[in-house]
Symmetry: D2
Subunit: 181 residues, 4 copies
């Protein structure tokens, strides 16, 4: 079972990353910051004759990482009550690769398990719920299994370390991951 | 009353643009495609000493347009059950400009009225609801008035022209805009 | 195609009933007010040896009506951001009749088409969305087809007659029903 | 700080009650099963000249209990993706008592803190979210403070005792309640 933490934050060592550390400490995994890659927003060519054009950016490097793992932890700060634009751009481009014959993207997605980690302000246990529901629709569409989600409260650096319920759930996942390996 | 249609689509002459045409035909307005501008995803510097750094892209050009208008029509295709990455990047960057002393961004936002147009597949009258709720949280946060939304069904080019309820609502808004001018 | 309007209002000639009239004028149908029947809240006996006990109320009279129709219009005022208790009690008791061998309740439900009409205050185009989503889960669970919904704004008697968009959608449904008969 | 557990279950010793026991063991509190009281669904008389009529049921007995407590734990099984009809009837009747001059219902509600416990099937961490959002609207409307919620998974008797995350959150609340007394 290969685990990928896909970080949608724009800054390093923030609360989202803190949560991912707690979830994966002592567990073999790969961690990538989407912001370290140049990812263009999608250009929708589904309805053109020529189809999608190759894009000169780092998408496929990131995609290879994504495809090689069985468990994906989608970890994002709650930006404006949704996933970060970085992560959204990554997901939007799936539409292109679902149609790219070089990949069995559709079949690969169906084998993966998804976890969601969202970090936001104090009200985010409520205001992140549309995002939690959006992920449900995303995973249903591609056939990924939506295991569970954590909504953690923390805005200032390390603030999330004061959210005991989020930390406990992180530890619980951590133990589960350790068992499965 | 100055009206701006802010288009989040990645392709031209798609269903979202079609809807905007119907809403604004015969009405004085400005229409911008975010995809025509280079907009970087946000780099969150809220918690650093130096604060946000200037970004070398087209954001401020777009921002000037945005600030000059009283009514904003946020028009986006439903990409993966959310707004497009293009639009999300635009909104994410608000966090930067809320802290930029050159603009009275906060005060300006509070005076604006928001309309939302989402175009998606057949199920989008249900699956777009998390996005409709997300916009509610966004507009509440900045104090914009959320007038109404249209969820229009159309994926293939011009398909939305066969959604009579969406078109009717577009005409209704159109008449309201004509009255107000 | 036999149509049943299932009214969850507690008062007669209110906004919900007004909407139903507009949707069904000139269309052959049956209309029932749940409040005219005595419906006990469910007593959950799923996990007892003896199973559910017969309840001495009007449920089965209403159930017979429900089963005889192909199209159900669930029409309810938005009470505390949900369906009325009257309608909720009716739906809750489905759990009992799904297990009652005298009825092919499960199979019958699967053949029905569902429309939802909700009437509420000015903000209900947003605040009724959890209810719209709840109905989606309900219909998915039993296999009913969720055709569409109307959220109409009106609290004081007849106030809904000033919501042109809701009335237009009602007329649209009305025309569709007239075509199908 | 006086605590009331308001149980919406229709059966005794079910999962919802189990959760409430875990949340409140060793904590001084009152626990009531709404199903032990006869509660009529509301008859909406807001728009009549005479206003609401007295209803011959147990509502006011329950209401007195409700008003005497500062913290309310709304505990309900997830019936058809919503609160139970029992609890819904209780809440619907608030509309009547908001207009009853014998009570300062509005002012009293504003002083209370609300916790929500929902028990449902395996998918309820997603499918209970509309209910969690509905409670948010309810509490916002009356000015109650929405402290937090637990979604616990358990359908068969005692099944919830195998949901470690829900139990942990129950223990956490339990410790908080013990501190505050």
């Amino acid at each position: 079972m290969k685990i990928l933490a896909l970080l949608g934050s724009s800054r390093k060592q923030g609360n989202t990353e803190y949560m991912v550390h707690r979830i994966l400490e002592g567990v073999d995994h790969t961690s990538v910051h989407i912001a370290d890659y140049t990812i263009q927003p999608i250009t929708d060519m589904r309805h053109t004759e020529e189809g999608f054009s190759p894009v000169d950016d780092d998408y496929e490097t990131l995609l290879h990482q994504f495809l090689e793992h069985d468990v994906i932890i989608f970890a994002t700060p709650l930006y404006w009550y949704g996933m970060s634009g970085h992560l959204k751009n990554f997901v939007d481009r799936w539409s292109q690769y679902l149609r790219d014959e070089r990949y069995n993207f559709k079949e690969e997605l169906r084998k993966k398990k998804a976890y969601v980690v969202v970090t936001g302000g104090n009200t985010s246990t409520i205001t992140a719920l549309p995002l939690i529901q959006q992920f449900k629709y995303i995973f249903d569409f591609v056939g990924m299994e939506y295991i569970d989600y954590i909504i953690a409260r923390g805005v200032k650096p390390e603030e999330v370390s004061h959210d005991p319920l989020a930390l406990h759930k992180a530890s619980f996942w951590n133990e589960e991951f350790k068992k499965e390996k």
